[in-house]
Amino acid sequence: MIKISNLNKSYGNKKVLENLNCTINTNSIYGFVGANGAGKSTLLRLINDVFKPDSGNIEIDGKTILDNQELKQKLVFVPDDLYFFPNYTLKDMANFYNSMYKNFDMEYLKKLAEILKLDINTKVQNFSKGMKRQCALICAISTNADYMFFDETFDGVDPVIRGLLKKIIAKQMEKKETTIVMTSHNLRELEDICDNLALIYKGGVLFESEVNNLKTNMFKVQISLKEEFDKDTFKEYNLLNFKKVGSVATLILKGEKEKVKEKLENLNPIILDFLPITLEEMFIYEMEVLGYEFNQVF
């Protein structure tokens, strides 16, 4: 488990993280989303001991990360700015990881490279941007580290490979208990893979939730009643948003789906449709509840 408490970090006079608190449970995929400059990369750098925090605490499995070599064996980090040694092939890079990580699985790396059609004897510098990221990701996954941190995980990767990579990540979690922490400025990239999502805004966690929880407790409903109705008609509901065009209203509601449905049917609606809702919409409405405009945050 990763426990982050009261984390602060500034670059000169500029505060990047401010009293950030967060708990990441083991064997889950945790996603940090937020606009560029929100502090996602800084947070990952602090967790991975690249930068030192000004104050606050980061504990991984109850131990502090600061200059803790043994603990860092359990961590692997794929930063946003990828680095490969000049003139190194994927095989050379894998050898480097192999020499650094006790549990590195060279055979697995070769297998992953084959799946992704990456030639391990080609110099990494000759690969495209997306291929370089694939190289970095498979090197990291092959370390079999307990905690994997991927910054801007799928940046530059095409949708097909993105899907493949997601499968590889899921497979890794099946293989062994692994905690994966990802960041992205694009919510859609993470919605179908993360168990938990946290929104970072102005150096703090603005909002955090289990994705399943969000998905099962939030609905988009299109409704039309025989009588005149307005927002107040639904004041007993946990209503996040209300929009009415003509006689049809679109509601965003929170609660147990069955109970809400039953209650709405009791109003004898002319139209009652439960529409699919995207994670992005869920975030928008949650933000609105917290008093933020979505555009401010992203």
């Binding site: 670059y11 000169g12 750098r45 991975n48 001991d49 690249v50 930068f51 030192k52 200059d67 803790n68 070599q69 043994e70 860092k72 064996q73 961590l75 692997v76 980090f77 930063p79 946003d80 700015d81 990828l82 680095y83 040694f85 000049p86 190194y88 050379d92 050898n95 480097f96 020499s99 650094m100 990580y101």
Partner: protein, 656 residues
Amino acid sequence: MNLTKYFNFNYLKENIKKSKGVLLLLILVVPFFTILTLALMYNNKNNIELLNMKNIIFVNLIGMYIIPIGLSFSLFGYVYKKSSVDFINSMPINRKSIFITNSIAGILIITIIQLLTMLGIFVISMAKTNLEIIPLSIIDSFFMMWIAYVFVFFITNLAMTLSGTNFTQIVLTILFVFLIPFVTQMSIAIFNDSYVEERLNSNSTYDSVIAVNEEKHYVLPYDVISKGSYEYSNITLVKMVIIGIIAFLLGIYLFQKRKMENIDESFANEKIHLVVKSLTIFPAILLLNVIDAESTFNILAVGIIIVYYFVYDYIVRKKIKFIKSIFALLFILIISQGIVFGMKNFPGTNIREKLNKENIKEISIDYENTDRESSNVYTNNEEAINLIFDSAEKINEEWPKTQGENISSTVISLNGKDKYGKIYDFHISIMQDDFYKLFDILEKDEDYVDRVKKEYMSNGYISIGRNNITHLINDSEKIQEEINKELEKRKLIEIFYINSENYNLSIDKYYYKNHKLTYKRMPVNINENILKEIADFENERTSQIDLEKLENSGYGISYSIYIDKDNLTASNDLEEYYFDYYNNSEYYFGIAQNDIKKFIEENKNEKLDSSKQYYIICVSNYENTYYLFSNKTKELNQILEKEIKQKDEEEKMFIN
């Protein structure tokens, strides 16, 4: 104990592997050019020469300013790069281990560089039969260079932990290495109002100047530039070791504390930037105060400083804050000038130290020939010390009266130790009569005389020179006996001040002492024992050559004969006879070449009877010269006559 906390072999291997191209270049450049220099030098075919490291170390010295910095940049550089900072710092290796492992990698590479160079020198010296080496001199020089390289490497590593750009890292390295020695040296100059030169008497009109040279040692990279030569002492070594260790430990500490977000930036703090920038101009201000140049030069220099000030800002900060910088510069100039003013006017400074007999507690007389090593034999003989200084005072008093007429004086070189053990190296003029008196006084000091003579008894290479032939013989007991006999005979003055005209053979004893190759000279007249020793040495050397191989070496080969017509012992004055045959100093063979070749083959194991007449056959090609001493003068005369006869016939045929 988990050693990987301090050192990670895998990381070392990978770090070297990733920069293998650059590192290979850094490893090979010094050995290659040093070996090349050595191969091209020492091609004097007449003499066997003793390798003086001073002559071939310059490649290594230039490397000292480049290689360690290159190593730091190769091994550490990527740790501070924006593109790689995340990658390397997130690896399961702690910062202490990164720093120590990279430092060890650098030390290993420096060791390889020095070992390869050393090995190359040994191999070349084995291949070149006219080149002799003193292994200790090579090992000592390379150990010193190793220390110097590691020192610069550690200093650069420290500079890299403190700064984020290559430019400022180099600036900091230069400041760390040069600033303190330079400021110290300039301060001495400012305090004493002249370079290390003191006068015996400030009212002196006669130039009986005591040129005092108090040897200062800082660190090798500074000393090489300030002195313009490769000289070092144990103090240099100790200073570099201590500063190097401090830099290394400080480097580890600061590297662990370093904020990795401050990369690609000179300094995180504007104030540090200003301090560093100011420190770079402070030496220039000191220098301007010392050289005391004309005002136009000073104005020009200040102009250059101002331009530099802004250029520095632009390079480091990529922007110039004009007004702020001008005020900062003015502030620095005022502060610096204030410090210099304070130094000049501080009570007790600007002392013209009077060096007189009361100050000097011990003296050692130096040899007249400055190439030779100074005598380290000191005496506290008060009578001698008083005589020297009184005599110099006498000259000072007499000189204005007669403008030097009727004053017969001589200059002697001395090393003087004051009561604190501080050594001054100076020259002093004393009256000619006092010069002889001085040696009479010292001659009576048996302990002193004994210690002076013992200086000649140590082991070393003996170089025997006669005309243009030099024989370099390692540690010959017989010749040492001859030296000892000479020492017994000679008066003290004849050891220090030698009239070479009285002797026909110079014997120099070379040895490596105090980190330099030096020698003591003891000219003698040739005798049977010395001749026998030289002959045995040279004949042994010649017996090992393969003439066929030498002839086919591509350089060609020549044979000649040196002739001693008279019995050696009949006259010590060999010079006239030695080369006097058919009006030629040497006779080169052409026609009778096969005869002389055959003679050498048949007689190369000859043991010379040095009491009888002898000829010397000389065999030389482009690289080497070998000598065969032979008493078979009749046989050699026949060959010579054959050669002359055939040549005469050829000349006649040519004329006809």
